[in-house]
């Protein structure tokens, strides 16, 4: 094969190790796993948004040939362990488990699960489940009348922002709105469950196999080691698969009752309500500055849509409060409860909506001041976190802006809106915005095995949701052990492996990577100890499958390990983030949600980026096209420039999608999502994407973790919507304070 595999190690653009299986079509996703004698499940969903089931008749469904079970709130009478919502310390996507009562809390709620010998029979029967509802008025939109805001946190206060704002010479006070959105990975939700000797094996696409294992053990009241969660390949996740979706519990329950494996693939339209989504949000941003452009007050009030069944806030002010130097800062978050399925994490859950408003407001301030938007940001660069006063573990935002501006050609920008016009009349706009994302860490375990032939296996219950973790974690081990990358195998995505963290919050490389690093170092130490007891190990190195001794002589790994019992060296490591206590670490390793950072005891760690967009707007049709995007990022050490670049680029395209296309529209009369298919829930097709340039600065962060990496997976989306909105303003003079920005917003 003529793949250039490189030599492995850190910083090398190694080709993905899972790519071959994927291009051949042999990578097995959850829906692809065969089980003998599988029964198939189909869902029936509520047609109303709120009320009760007043009549339920399953006779016709049960009469369909091949139907084995129709699970409804009447027939689900098992006692289940009390597992809770993921945002309250549990693992469930929602506090509410469908079929546990006759209440309807949101449209599209699961009201029955039908199981049959064939999928066709299950689907037919699911349509024949007859239900009448006692319907009550519902509000699925936070804009409906009569809804009240509730404070979601105690806020952030530095100085006296209200007073400083009132006294300021130049100010901006504007409100920005972002819609509900759905992750819509191309892979559908799916689950298949099989019980054997009281043990549960479940195949599902998961960003958190350890959490899923712990949660299902609790739900079913069985020992944690009797649950096996398998998720070797995940067809995109973006936060959608980071908790246990209710249907997974129902499928496992049905399989236990039937004594037979049960498989469910959730149709695209049902995916809008059986899982979570990004809730709508409204940000009021107030900025005040001196005439010279120094910020004197930064205020950000965000109201987010939550659910009646789960009050949950995703406001991003922890990040916006840290963006710029200001002596006065005031941040408040609130929520409005609506009759929807529980909102959840979606790529940069807090930051993406918040930064659309915040960075649009910065642009408005730049306009009000007559200062270049890039310069305004640079002149307000904070030396330390303006909230905690702590130093940054690393922060190269200014360098990102300087490099990005040069790459983009920002100096060509005429600041006057509508002044840049192509020969054919097309309006051209340039915009920029800041991106950031917290670099949090979670405890992780890993095991590394080195064999006499130089091959190396890394085991960790982390996940590759498309990000490249299979490749990157192997590179960390290859780097420590001096073995070529093609001799490294990485096993992930199964709960039998050493505990790995949730693949959320852009933490996998830093957390699981640190654990792999630690385990690989332990392997190396044993190797050194074996080859030359008593010698100075700090002067020994590993290269090209040889140990290099202090005197320069070389000993082949094959000789050293070949002589050991079993012919391998294998080490396990439990890695704990700095600033985390042992108890929290143990909770994390046992499948609990345990995060450290981004504000630690001594430092504050964020990834940063400067993002630029050029839009082209047809003056007659108002169609908006993103011609170019440039993103320059500082994310600490980059293990694999190829995978990192692609994540950042994918994030930027998410940002462009968000700016111009993505919205889960709400049918307010019926209280439900209206565009529940890929024909009408728009995300970017390839023609929607123009030129994309991504650069990563060479940033060294010795504080954040053992390998110096910061968050990569989500930061790419964060600044893009505002950069595009700012470019639209620059092209047209029209300030659109909502996404998606539609053609008709420019009428």
């Amino acid at each position: 094969m003529d793949i250039n595999m490189g030599n492995g190690g850190i910083g090398v653009p190694v080709v993905r190790r899972d790519a071959m299986a994927k291009v051949l079509g042999v990578a097995q996703y959850a829906a692809d796993f065969p089980h003998e004698n599988t029964a198939y499940a189909a869902l029936t969903l509520s047609k109303v948004a709120r009320g009760r089931i007043s009549r339920l008749d399953t006779a016709a469904a049960e009469a369909v040939a091949g139907v084995r079970m129709v699970l409804t709130h009447r027939s689900l009478n098992e006692s289940l362990g009390d597992e809770t919502f993921v945002m309250k310390g549990g693992h469930m996507q929602s506090s509410f488990l469908p079929l546990t009562s006759d209440e309807i809390h949101y449209a599209g709620q699961i009201v029955s699960l039908t199981i049959a010998d064939t999928l066709e029979a299950a689907e037919e029967a699911a349509r024949l489940v007859a239900i009448d509802y006692a319907r009550e008025a519902a509000s699925a939109s936070m804009d409906d009348a009569g809804l009240t805001e509730e404070p979601a946190d105690s806020g952030i206060d530095v100085g006296d922002a209200e007073a400083a704002f009132a006294a300021a010479e130049v100010k901006v006070d504007a409100t920005y709105v972002t819609p509900a959105q759905h992750h819509n990975p191309i892979e559908l939700y799916a689950a298949s469950a099989a019980w054997q000797d009281g043990k549960l094996l479940i195949n599902l696409p998961s960003q958190w196999v350890m959490g899923t294992r712990a949660g299902l053990a609790k739900v079913f009241g069985i020992p944690i080691e009797d649950v096996h969660v398998e998720s070797p390949y995940v067809g995109g996740a973006f936060g959608a698969k980071a908790s246990i979706l209710p249907h997974v519990v129902l499928v496992a329950m049905a399989a236990r009752r039937l004594g037979r494996p049960v498989k469910l693939v959730v149709p695209r339209e049902a995916g809008f309500t059986v899982g979570s989504f990004r809730p709508a949000a409204r940000s009021r941003v107030r900025l005040a500055a001196t005439r010279q452009g120094k910020l004197t007050a930064v205020m950000h009030d965000e109201v987010g849509q939550s659910a009646v069944i789960d009050h949950v806030a995703f406001a991003g002010m922890e990040a916006t409060s840290k963006m710029y130097a200001s002596p006065n800062i005031r941040m408040r978050a609130a929520t409005v409860a609506t009759d929807v399925n529980s909102p959840g994490f979606m790529r940069a859950p807090a930051e993406a909506p918040s930064f659309f408003g915040f960075e649009s407001a910065m642009d408005e301030l730049a306009v009000a001041l007559g200062i270049d938007p890039v310069e305004l940001r640079i002149m307000n660069e904070p030396a330390r976190d303006p909230v905690s006063g702590l130093p940054w573990s690393s922060r190269l935002l200014v360098e990102c802006y300087r490099r990005g501006a040069a790459l983009f050609g920002w100096s060509d920008r005429n600041p006057k809106p509508g002044s840049m016009v192509a020969a054919d009349g097309t309006l051209i706009g340039y915009g920029c915005a800041t991106a950031t994302y917290p670099s949090a860490m979670a405890p992780s375990s890993a095991r590394v095995r080195l064999s006499a032939d130089g091959s190396c296996v890394v085991y960790c219950a982390a996940h590759d949701v498309g990000t490249g973790a299979y490749t990157v974690l192997g590179q960390v081990a290859a780097d420590v052990l001096g073995v070529p990358d093609e001799l490294v195998t990485v096993e992930m995505g199964h709960s039998r492996h050493p505990s790995g963290p949730v693949s959320g919050g852009s933490i996998t490389t830093g957390s699981a990577g640190s654990a792999v690093h630690m385990a690989a170092r332990a392997v190396r130490e044993r190797l050194f100890a074996t080859v030359a007891a008593g010698q100075d190990r700090s002067k020994m190195t590993l290269a090209d499958r040889h140990v290099v001794l202090p005197d320069g002589s070389r000993r082949a790994i094959s000789d050293i390990i070949g002589g050991l019992p079993g012919g391998v060296i294998e080490e396990h490591a439990d890695w704990k983030p700095t600033d985390m206590d042992d108890k929290t670490m143990q909770q994390g390793l046992a499948g609990g949600m345990a995060f450290a950072g981004p504000v630690g005891g001594t430092h504050v760690s964020f990834s940063f980026g400067a993002q630029f967009a050029e839009v082209r707007i047809d003056p007659l049709l108002r169609t908006i096209r993103v011609a170019r995007m440039v993103g320059v990022f500082a994310c600490g050490r980059i293990i694999n420039p190829r995978t990192a670049r692609s994540n950042l680029m994918g994030g930027m395209i998410w940002g462009a999608s968000s700016a111009l296309l993505e919205e889960s529209q709400i049918d307010r009369a019926r209280g439900r999502f209206a565009n529940t298919d890929l024909a009408s829930y728009h995300f970017a097709a390839n023609a929607d994407v123009g030129e994309v340039v991504v650069e990563m600065l060479d940033e060294h962060d010795s504080v954040v973790n053992a390998i110096g990496t910061k968050a990569v997976g989500e930061v790419g989306i964060v600044g893009m919507p505002a950069a595009i909105a700012n470019a639209v303003y620059h092209a047209t003079g029209v300030r659109v304070r909502k996404t998606p920005i539609l053609m008709e917003d420019l009428l």
């Binding site: 790519a19 994927k22 051949l24 995940v234 390839n686 030129e691």
Partner: protein, 512 residues
């Protein structure tokens, strides 16, 4: 007609299927019955392309152009999720699992390029992209050409990816031609398809084993007369062509479509030919073939053809289906109406002609009688003095339903308009002509004053609705502005170059 199993070439042999319901999809059969799980389900309605497979048939049986030629085969990328299995009878099915076998290396060049260029991240859309690229590879291999970036983007318009941002996949498409080539040996496939054709006789009549009665029968005749007679006797049956609509009725609306009468195997219906001063597009001709023929008459239609739908839909769906199903936002009808197209409708042995602009009676209602079917679309060859444009406005550039679309044409004698057709979709309950605006232009001088008058008159023609795709205000404004744009592009003095409005051209030019 004799009952037969569905026979097609798959996995290097002829397979015979007798147990599947007539609306079983190719995707369900692949993933369920034969456990070929490389082909993925992402939407089950032809939106995402994760299920893209290749269907091949004998070129001399295929009846229309528009597919990809290899040997004596015509190959087409299609969405397996909305393709009914019985329509594969007499054809070959190639899936992602077949590719590596076409080379003595570990990977086909398409696959190798995707690996090299990081074209696969989460990997779920990957098999679909690989199969679309495989179609691109075959087409250019046969023609000994290499596509430019814009052509690659056109070929991938029917595949959605949520991870990569598409750039690496476009890179892979360029790289695959630089790798050691792999050739599809079509001989065994052709031999197998000839054998099936020989035993099929006058057509396929299929019902799943043990199934009988209404809704159990799939009938695929090979002659028009047989089709017409069968349909006249059973007008309650559903006429099936590319299934890009009907697949959704079944998958998403769970509609009982009754017996299926498939017109895709009637070669005479798939013909596109010039008859005197008319282009005759058989009702079964694919969108791909029909648009190519229309572009041959009017090159300005190229952009509309590309944006009509992605390749897997264009290679499966038919222009006849798009016209006959008659959605108010169908994109073919405005173009055809601007070209004065007529429809040939047939019932039993009787046929009649109806002007397209008289065909649509009301929302989703047309002039077809029970048991009558669309046989052909007749398009008069345009007068050389005709200036024509078609525009499609949608939120997303590709793979999106129009907010509005239009076909606009003026024929000039000198600078005076002797004929004018302004047909709009998305502005009313049916696609229809803007008669008031046309009147404002008729016999006027093709100039700014007349265009302004026509723009104003559009308000009398249409009272568009606000819906999820666009507001009434936007539709009104943009319909007027499209008229203005039409004039800018077609005026005699200093016309705006068309390239400047083809935004994809510009986006691609800027890509690196």
């Amino acid at each position: 007609m004799m009952q037969q199993p569905i026979s097609f070439y798959f996995d290097n042999r002829i397979v015979r299927v007798a147990d599947q319901p007539i609306t079983a999809t190719v995707l369900a059969w692949l993933r369920g019955a034969v456990r070929r799980t490389g082909t993925k389900e992402g939407c089950a309605e032809g939106d995402c392309g994760a299920c893209t497979v290749i269907v091949a048939e004998l070129a001399d049986e295929a009846g229309d152009a528009g597919g990809i030629r290899a040997g004596n085969l015509v190959l087409r990328p299609i969405n397996a999720c909305i393709r009914f299995l019985p329509t594969l009878h007499g054809k070959a099915l190639l899936t992602i699992e077949d590719l590596a076998g076409l080379t003595d290396r570990a990977l086909h060049p398409v696959q190798q390029a995707m690996v090299d260029c990081h074209g696969s991240q989460c990997g779920f859309c990957t098999p679909g992209f690989v199969m679309s690229l495989f179609a691109t590879y075959l087409r250019h291999q046969a023609a000994q050409t290499t596509p430019d970036r814009a052509a690659i983007a056109h070929d991938l318009a029917g595949n959605l990816c949520r991870c990569t941002g598409y750039r690496p996949i476009l890179d892979a498409a360029a790289r695959m031609f630089a790798l050691p080539p792999a050739t599809l040996d079509t001989a065994p496939i052709e031999a197998a398809l000839r054998a099936v054709a020989a035993e099929t006789g006058a057509g396929l009549s299929y019902a799943a084993a043990g199934q009988a009665g209404p809704g159990a029968r799939f009938y695929a005749p090979r002659e028009v007369d047989a089709l017409a007679a069968w349909y006249a006797e059973r007008p309650e049956a559903t006429l099936l062509a590319g299934a890009t609509d009907i697949g959704l009725w079944v998958n998403k609306r769970f509609r009982d479509v009754g017996d299926l009468l498939y017109l895709g195997d009637v070669a005479a219906l798939r013909c596109i030919e010039r008859e005197g001063d008319v282009l005759r597009i058989g009702a079964g001709a694919t969108l791909e073939a029909a648009w190519a023929a229309l572009i041959g008459l009017e090159p300005a239609l190229g952009e509309m053809a590309l944006r009509f739908a992605g390749p897997p839909v264009r290679h499966a769906g038919t222009m006849g289906g798009n016209v006959a199903n008659g959605s108010p936002i169908g994109d073919a009808a405005p173009v055809l109406m601007a070209m004065d197209a007529r429809l040939v409708l047939q019932h039993g042995a009787q046929s009649r002609e109806v002007p397209l602009d008289a065909f649509y009676l009301d929302y989703m209602r047309n002039d077809l009688a029970k048991g009558e079917f669309l046989r052909a679309i007749l398009v008069p060859l345009p007068d050389p003095d005709t200036r024509m444009r078609a525009y499609k406005i949608s939120k997303r550039f590709d793979c999106d339903i129009s907010a509005l679309s239009c076909g606009l044409a003026v024929t000039l004698e000198g600078e005076t308009i002797s004929r004018v057709r302004l047909a709009f979709g998305g502005m009313a309950a049916t696609v229809r002509r803007a008669r008031h605006a046309e009147a404002a232009l008729h016999e006027a001088v093709w100039g700014e004053a007349a265009v302004r008058a026509a723009m104003a008159a559009l308000d009398e023609d249409f009272t568009p609705l606000s819906d999820l795709r666009a507001s009434r205000g936007y539709r009104r404004l943009v319909a007027r502005n499209l008229l203005w744009r039409f004039w800018l592009e077609t005026r005699s003095a200093a016309p705006l170059p068309a390239a400047s409005v083809r935004v994809r051209t510009f986006a691609m030019a800027g890509a690196v």
